[in-house]
């Protein structure tokens, strides 16, 4: 036991000696949380809209003003000709062009009907849908004002909605669980796999293997310091989300921390697994970063909901542990549900941990070639 502690101390010394990596380790979760909180958002804001106003009367100007004063849009240069639309969209100068037909208000008054055409840049589908919907809603609103209150009173069924768990519809509820999940798995897998392959590459692994330490002790000694550091990371993220975004842990904090420990342990085991299959640090880094970063971001339900993907991705993402941890964090942290709601996901994480450890044990060679 004493021997083991000395070994752990050695590992800690390795980590503390590299001060910059340590700083980044603690800076990264903070930076990401703030980035998602204050910088990156999927809301529509300041999208540039231009108008091709073929009638240029009072009514079309009113509609244009209404669109631009909504806060979602910024007015771009006016367009005078149909051929200019393509130019403006192609040069990314505008996101949408609104075309008013000729004699717009005269048509409304005499025929009771006038047409407006919305052209958006479909190369960004999400943006295009949002701009189209918002502009249509604003024009419909204008239409209703025009029609007067007479039409409104007749709408018999007035639906009401309650937004559960997130009444203000903030995007933080989505990304805080995501950031914890992403950081933990990448950092843990990266760190453990590097630290073990490093010993292999530098040849110091031989020294360790001939020492009286058992292989299990070597591995445990390697992951224990990172386990502690990652746990501190989780606490930093939770504190930040509570203090900065006012998003506290609604359910049991103890349960969330215990689940995080399980997830960290699992990520570390994956790191060990990676280190057993790679012989150089470069390979280990390549697998843990290039191989794992994008699938974790895109397939775990972090940014893009799994339910929206084609059916087959339900199966593909089933082998990605982050998917389950995100569910756990969302349940415990945001919905405030108890263990009864997440036991299945917990079991799956335990299974992945055992699987990774099992395979590594079989593959871990105590002799070099």
């Amino acid at each position: 036991m004493e021997r083991f502690l000395v070994f752990v101390r050695k590992e800690f010394l390795h980590i503390f000696r590299d001060f910059r990596t340590l700083i980044i380790l603690f800076l990264l979760p903070g930076a990401l949380i703030l980035l998602f909180g204050f910088v990156v958002s999927t809301d529509l804001k300041n999208a540039t809209v231009s108008f091709l106003d073929l009638s240029n009367d009072e009514m079309t100007q009113k509609i244009a003003d209404k669109i631009c004063s909504s806060g979602f849009f910024r007015k771009g240069d006016n367009i005078r000709d149909f051929s200019e639309i393509d130019q403006a969209l192609r040069a990314n100068k505008v996101k949408a062009v609104v075309v008013f037909e000729k004699d717009f208000s005269r048509n409304i008054i005499s025929k009771g009907k006038a047409n407006v055409h919305i052209i958006t840049d479909g190369s960004e589908p999400n943006m295009a849908t949002m701009t189209t919907n918002y502009i249509s809603a604003i024009i419909t609103d204008f239409n209703n004002e025009l029609a007067g209150s007479s039409a409104k009173g007749i709408l018999l069924v007035q639906p009401e909605v309650r937004m559960f768990y997130n009444p203000a519809l903030k995007s933080q509820h989505m990304f805080v669980p995501g950031v914890i999940t992403l950081i933990m798995i990448l950092v843990c897998a990266l760190m453990t796999s590097i630290t073990i392959t490093r010993e292999k590459e530098l040849g110091t692994m031989e020294a360790l293997l001939v020492s009286p330490l058992k292989p299990v002790q070597i591995i445990l000694g390697k992951i224990l310091p990172y386990f502690i550091l990652s746990f501190i990371d989780v606490i930093i993220i939770l504190l930040l989300s509570w203090l900065v975004f006012d998003l506290p842990v609604k359910g049991s904090l103890a349960l969330l921390l215990a689940e995080s420990m399980l997830y960290i342990l699992m990520s570390l085991s994956i790191g060990i697994l990676i280190s057993t299959v790679s012989s150089t640090m470069q390979q280990a880094i390549f697998i843990s970063l290039v191989g794992m970063m994008l699938p974790t971001v895109l397939l775990s339900g972090f940014i893009y909901p799994i339910e929206n993907m084609p059916k087959i991705y339900d199966w593909i993402s089933a082998v990605l542990p982050p998917r389950y941890f995100i569910v756990i964090v969302k349940n415990v942290m945001i919905k405030g549900t108890g263990f009864a709601y997440v036991w299945k996901e917990t079991l799956i994480l335990v299974f992945f941990t055992l699987l990774a450890i099992g395979i590594s044990m079989r593959k871990f060679r105590i002799r070099l070639q």
Binding site: I24, L25, L28, L35, N46, P159
Partner: protein
Amino acid sequence: MRTILYLIRKEFLQIFRDKFIGKAIFAIPIVQMLVLVPAVTFEIKEVRICIVDKDLTTESRELESRIVGSTFFRVIYATFSEKEANDLLHRGRCDLVLQIPHGFGNDIGKGIPTGVMASANAINAMNAQLSWGYLSGVIQGYNMNILAREINSRTFTPVPQIGITTRFWYNELLNYNWYMLPGILGILVLAIGFILAGLNLVKEKESGTIEQMNVTPVRKYQFMIAKIAPFLVIGLVDLALGLAIGKLVFDIPFIGSLGLLFICSAVFMIAVLGLALFISTFSGTQQQYMFTAFFFMIIFILMSGIFTPLESMPDWAQKIDLVNPVVYIMRINRMVILKGSTFQDIRMEFLALVLIALTTTTLAVVRYRKTA
């Protein structure tokens, strides 16, 4: 010049000596493109809804059948118990609960305004808003239907109407694959160059071979060019592979000029590789390099506008983004591939990339010391 060619040859040999890396630099991007591109979409396929009908009249059934008939909704459960329905929402089995109160049909019959109550799981705010949008659309349709019946019995003056037509240019069907592929391609090229080039230099430091390099008459810039060139070639080959997949598998229209795309990507790669080498001059170990690089990379990517619109970011963040090379390549990729933008359209982005590339490579050459 000959010196540089020899050095480049040496670098290539070193990269491909590692069989795993040699295969992985081409295999991983291909596999990830094939798997990831079709997965990513914000579009909602179906909304799982649970209906609590406490009224059970012709009117409430009519509303229900409208929901069942809509392609967006799948009614997974119908119950009388509000508690049971909320529990389903809690467990994540359904996305929406719709409650029709007792007396709903009666009120409609009398022409008294009445209400229905929906509850949504709003952890994913965007999804919740969209599903709610669909549901209000259905209810709106139901209202219009009643209205139409009313018109027959009452005299009614027609209301002025603005007809709205919409059109999505360049991607009429809003195919997400077309949108994501250029973006994911950009990230993969970035990741491979950034990780491998930097590690390569640091590894030489760690194993001490860099000192042998330093005592040769090779000039600093020659050394740097030799470190950049192989990864530039690999990055462009990856790009070509990715574009081929885009064309063959995802049927992406290539409207713009391929040459322009490759020139821009080459400048982008040089900018990224210069930065990678610059960071590696500060790093003593591969681990240290990796964490610094990872830090920059993830921030570059998240702020690049690949997942979220750039315009939604606050002004100060957009100013910081001026030095983020990923922003420009993301924009150029999408503009040239999907919209057929010409050099005239992307000249500002191109200029920015050239400036960044010049800066990072100069910094790398200046920072690199031949003396230990």
